[in-house]
């Protein structure tokens, strides 16, 4: 029996039993589509979380005043460390070739108002470097001026929500606002970015560092953000930062946080998500597998008598099995392909409806879904046929 005849005989059987083939096909298709879609959702969730971390800014080192060991409390709280100053930031930026930019950050809370509209907001005192370091973008106007160790210009940049609330329906750029007792001029508005690392960027007002220090009557910065020139420079830079600061302050009185340490603290969440994703895939794969198994078992078992007849007419066992294997592979293979298509289509629909969610079916899940459909289909297509061929022809023929 030639392979072409085997194929023709198998395809003929599938085409003649249209309804049954269609039902089997649907079973496989839905199973595979479910795996593709569910794992895409899981992977999307994983990517969403990872994306949130990336949005913090890449390759950052954060220098905060105080030392865990010297104060005994959380860094920056309690104790009386030396001030972290703008001059420190400038010195670090100048001394370290691995640092792309050093951005001083001062923080305080105050009331911001535009005539009768007022709001309590977080105020960040910083410089132009924060924009690239935090991967922020301007909606209109311009960002803060470069590092300015003098008096600081009376200007402010608004987060998008703040801008909307203080200036509904207006362009705030060029308009005056009051922050506490000072009058500042709005020079720009940020693009909406949501929450980054615990700070709602849309709800802050940014001013030059000296302006913020004067507003809050502070002598120390909240922190210095160092953006590194590339990945893998964290450790080297950390050591140099500590050395430079020790030299400047006469003692080691700062703490350096790396992005890795922040991500490391949250990697448990990522791991849990990854495991959840694998579990989702495993469950949907086994559901799909059992569905395919049932369909194939039923459709082949009811043809036991045909197997008997073919044997009576002189077909050998392996010929009969080849026919049923071909049938099963054709059926589960095309069902698998259709399932992949359906999964991708549904994914497209999902992405169209929720474009922000990074839906992505992982390649291993696609491969596993297709392979499972093929293997399970083949095994459970051939198994009952194998059982039928083990019977004497007349015994098989008399089963309906």
């Amino acid at each position: 029996m030639s392979p072409r005849d085997t194929f023709r005989f198998a395809a003929g059987a599938l085409l003649r039993h249209r309804l049954r083939s269609l039902l089997s096909l649907t079973g496989v298709t839905i199973g595979v589509a479910a795996v593709v879609l569910l794992t895409a959702l899981g992977e999307g969730a994983l990517r969403y979380v990872a994306g949130q971390f990336e949005a913090i800014g890449s390759n950052l080192l954060i220098v905060i005043p105080g030392k865990v060991e010297t104060t005994g409390g959380l860094p920056g709280i309690g104790g009386a460390p030396n001030d972290l100053t703008q001059a420190d930031a400038t010195a670090l930026g100048a001394a370290l070739p691995t640092v792309l930019r050093a951005v001083p950050v001062a923080v305080g809370t105050d009331t911001v108002s535009n005539r009768e509209r007022r709001r309590q907001v977080l105020i960040l005192g910083t410089t132009e470097g924060l924009l690239p370091a935090r991967q922020l973008t301007m909606n209109r106007g311009r960002f803060l001026p470069p590092l300015d160790e003098g008096r600081g210009a009376p200007v402010a940049v608004l987060g998008s929500t703040v801008a909307q609330e203080l200036f509904p329906g207006q362009d705030p750029v060029g308009k005056p606002i009051r922050v506490g007792d000072s009058r500042l001029r709005v020079i720009g508005v940020l693009d909406s970015k949501g929450t980054q690392m615990g700070i709602a960027v849309d709800e802050v007002v940014m001013v030059p560092t000296p302006t913020a220090m004067a507003l809050f009557n502070r002598s120390s910065l909240f922190r210095i953000v160092l953006q590194l020139a590339g990945p893998g420079l964290g450790e080297v830079t950390e050591e140099r930062v500590l050395a430079i600061m020790a030299e400047r302050h006469g003692e080691e009185d700062v703490t350096v946080l790396t992005q890795d340490s922040v991500v490391g603290a949250l990697s448990g969440i990522l791991l849990a998500l990854t495991i959840a994703l694998a579990a989702i895939a495993a469950v949907s794969l086994s559901v799909a597998g059992i569905g395919i198994m049932n369909v194939m078992l039923v459709s082949v078992s009811e043809r036991t008598s045909e197997v008997g007849l073919l044997k009576a007419l002189g077909a050998q066992n392996r010929q009969v099995l080849a026919v049923f294997l071909t049938e099963a592979v054709l059926l589960s293979g095309s069902g698998g392909l259709l399932g992949l298509c359906l999964g991708f289509l549904l994914g497209r629909g999902f992405t169209w409806k929720w474009p922000d969610f990074p839906l992505a079916a992982p390649p291993w899940a696609i491969a596993a879904a297709f392979t499972t459909s093929l293997v399970v289909g083949a095994v459970f297509g051939v198994l009952p046929a194998r059982r039928a061929t083990a019977l004497d022809p007349i015994a098989a023929m008399s089963r309906r």
């Binding site: 008598s305 002189g314 004497d392 007349i394």
Partner: protein
């Protein structure tokens, strides 16, 4: 030549033992026409199935053309069925999804006959049973007599030496039955060994030899002529 030596076939069903064949010894010579008759449950179909290697005897020795069959593997038995036997069943056993011609071609497909030759030979075989017009019809579109003639064309397509027919006219009216019997007579006339199970004494009377089975044993051996002369026939249904 078919030689059966003390052939038994025992079925076990839920603790009960059914002796469908009980030490049957018989010889069928090449070219003979033998009818198997007897009441239902007498073992005549089982005997036919054992002869056709569709079923295996529980006990005894079955030699086909000098070779003991019991040592053969499944695939060797398939080859024997393909090369030696043609089967005709009471309920036709055509594959419903295939056209008459495709049904006739099935044994050739599994025997590896090339497509063009299959088409030629199946067309000839259908012509021989008078169904050229119906080659493209599926079994459901054919009458019972036509279906049985398709089955005869299929049974003879690989030129077997022995034709086994199990109640070939059982589901047919007398006109269709007569057509089928005429075809079988013709094939026997061409030298085929024909073994037929029937409950109809008139049909059995056409055979050269008649074996009357009762309770799994050969109760009586007659010639067709004797059976015809007896008139009243055996204790069949």
């Amino acid at each position: 030549m078919i030689e059966l030596d003390c052939i038994s076939r025992v079925y076990h069903m839920g603790g009960e033992t059914l002796r469908a064949l009980d030490s049957v010894s018989e010889k069928v010579l090449p070219g003979e026409f033998v009818a198997l008759i007897g009441p239902s449950g007498s073992g005549k179909s089982t005997l036919l199935n054992v002869i056709g290697c569709l079923d295996r005897p529980t006990d005894g020795v079955y030699s086909l053309e000098g070779h003991a069959v019991d040592g053969f593997s499944d695939d060797e038995l398939s080859r024997i069925r393909r090369d030696t036997f043609g089967f005709i069943f009471q309920s036709y056993h055509l594959i419903p999804r295939l056209s008459a011609q495709a049904n006739v071609e099935v044994p050739m497909v599994f025997a590896g006959v090339p497509k063009a030759e299959r088409a030629r030979r199946s067309a000839e075989a259908l012509a021989a049973v008078g169904l050229s017009e119906r080659a493209k019809h599926r079994p459901a579109e054919l009458s019972g007599g036509q279906r049985q003639r398709v089955a005869i064309a299929r049974a003879t397509i690989l030129a077997p030496r022995i034709l086994l027919a199990d109640e070939p006219t059982g589901n047919l009216d007398s006109a269709a039955g007569a057509q089928v019997l005429a075809l079988l007579d013709k094939l026997h006339g061409q030298g085929l060994t024909l073994i037929m199970v029937t409950h109809d004494p008139k049909v059995a009377a056409r055979a050269e030899r008649v074996l009357l089975l009762e309770d799994g044993r050969v109760a009586k051996r007659l010639t067709g002529a004797q059976l015809a002369a007896a008139g009243e026939g055996p204790s069949g249904r």
